[in-house]
Amino acid sequence: MTAYLRQFGTAFRFLAVATVLLGVFYPLVMFGVGQAVASAQANGSIARLNGQPAASTLLVQAVPETETRFFFPRPSAVKWDSTTSGASNLGPSDPALSKAESAARAAVAAREGVAESAVPLDAVTASGSGLDPDISPAYAELQVPRVAKGTGLSADDLRKMVSEATSNPVLSLLGQPAVNTTKLNLAIAARLK
């Protein structure tokens, strides 16, 4: 028993040392390194519009349902709220999932004025994080005519902006091609000013 008690004493003292070195010193040093070499990323990749902080380019931004001038991101289980995160966690054979997908498909098709069969899957499924800013190039292309009409920008201009907001070929290969709606919508907002 005394052997055990002695080990407990050692354990708590070891944890105290570990807490100082690993729990305080290490994150503070990494904070210093981050601010020194990559402060933009370390601070959340914040993009500005007219000098004002407008978004983190890594996180989704909500687009109001009635909006006609911007590109819509994917559905979100946390309603695009960046103070939280998460997925629907609906099982693959859950009827609630197919119901949500059908409803979203009908809504997207009506909004964009296309057939339901033309709506890609990323447009009707919620992401794992709920904060995914990216959509497929197919879903972006689907929205181009509506955004062109809503903004008065030409479809060709918009396609150029879409391709500027698309992941580079290396990232597209390691993951899949992704169009960042947060960057894209900021670019459109800048043009509309």
Binding site: A11, G23, M30, Q35, L58, R74, Q176
Partner: protein, 546 residues
Amino acid sequence: MQFSFLSFITQIAILIVALGAVHQPLGAYLAKVADGEGHRPFERWIYKAAGVGPDSAQTWKAYARSVVALSAAGVILLYVGQRVQPLLSGGQIAGVDPWVAMNTAISFITNTNWQSYTPESTVGFVIQMAFLAVQNFVSAAVGIAIAFALVRGFARKGTDSLGNFWVDMTRITFRVLLPLAALAAAVLVVAGVVQNFWPTAVTNPLTGVSQTIPGGPVASQEAIKILGTNGGGYFNANSAHPFENPNAFTNLFEVFLLLAIPFSLPYTFGRMVGSRKQGFTILTVMAALWIITTSLMAWAVAAWPSLGEGLEQRFGPAASGIFATATTLTSTGAVNAAHDSLPPLAGGIAMFDMMLGEVAPGGVGSGLYGMLILAIVAVFLGGLMVGRTPEYLGKKIQARHMTLAALYLLVTPVLVLVLTGAAVLIPSVVADAPAPGPHQFSELLYAFTSATNNNGSAFAGISASDPIISSLINVAMWLGRVLPMVLVLALAGCFAKQEPIPPSPGTLPTYGPLFAGLLGTVAVLFSALNYFPALALGPIAEGTLR
């Protein structure tokens, strides 16, 4: 979303090349850390501060006492820390609910990192970095220390000593984990992972509404979360969250990091026992199981017609399948997609990966000792089949060894199956898993498989915060961690005392393709026989519905 075969093959090829390049140097370095003489000045300072006599040797019992003492002390510290969060956060954040705090404490001590709490709303910077992330280092180091002790048992003869736990812990933490984590954290920050201490307010130009961009010391925690095969996310969405895993490069980098140490330890083992081919054989079996299960996962994902729910657009099905396999084959449990929404058979493969006992390559340290136990069983079976004397690395396998090895292999399946069985009999626990049909059983089976194997991923539709289910999970995590460790140390103690016998013509060679095949077969058959009925009721039944 479409499964891209080209993307899959490219990523696997990059991983094979990268892991192939690091496993020798890192493995050799780990062997040097394990066998090293002498202490560095900062280590002497730590020994003094902790009251450790660094040159004293420990028997297996003393070693085990230290492991249990450190784990129990860790649980107390984490529990108290979470409960007094108001003090630590200057009154900003409430204390964590007692049940959730206990669940989280056990979870982080046991390298499980099962998260019944929502980090964004439950824990602040202080708890995350000074309590939870510290255990990401410590629990990882414990796993590696136990692996060192077992390998020393094989390498030594006629001694009671397995080394000194506190010296192993100090060296593994400060010579290996901390420098590697710092390096990885720097890469992650440059690639976009946040590392700050404040939220940022922005104004959404589309709506004019203000939005809060979260902050926190994420990169430093993310690095050790992955490298130490822990898996507890800074954010609720874990590695699916863009601030933990911003792009397809960081995603592949994280998969590499979580496989790096487990795939290097077989080389360490070979070095320490003085036979590289023995280490290479273990490595081949781990690598083969990894490639086979990853390919099965790819097949299960690619065959599903409606991919998208729970997947991130920037990763897609191929990168998420690779991540899901790597995280469940190791004891990591980080996720870059919602496992609950994976196609039924893909979810089943993720479960089976854990059911293999997380040995391909497994958690840091735990993967190696798990695979070595399987090797002992394989030697014994091989000996029975062809009438050879069962011996491994010159140590004769006797009744006592087989008893300990058999107990080790039975602890996990018994806990998983008994606790899952108990869970389905308790109506309030069944109600915690709201999914319809066989998926409800899958959610429960996944939870107890994950907790007992100290994985930590979940079919997260399950709600695990009420007292009954969280107590069952606590039992699974604690016994699933501590019992196997003590059994491994007991086995190491036996081997260390034994004098080796020289190989004879009757010795079954424990290297080369034949033994590798035997070992791989034992690993797969053992888990398949244990778990197939349970899998048939969950993911396999669900897979036949469509």
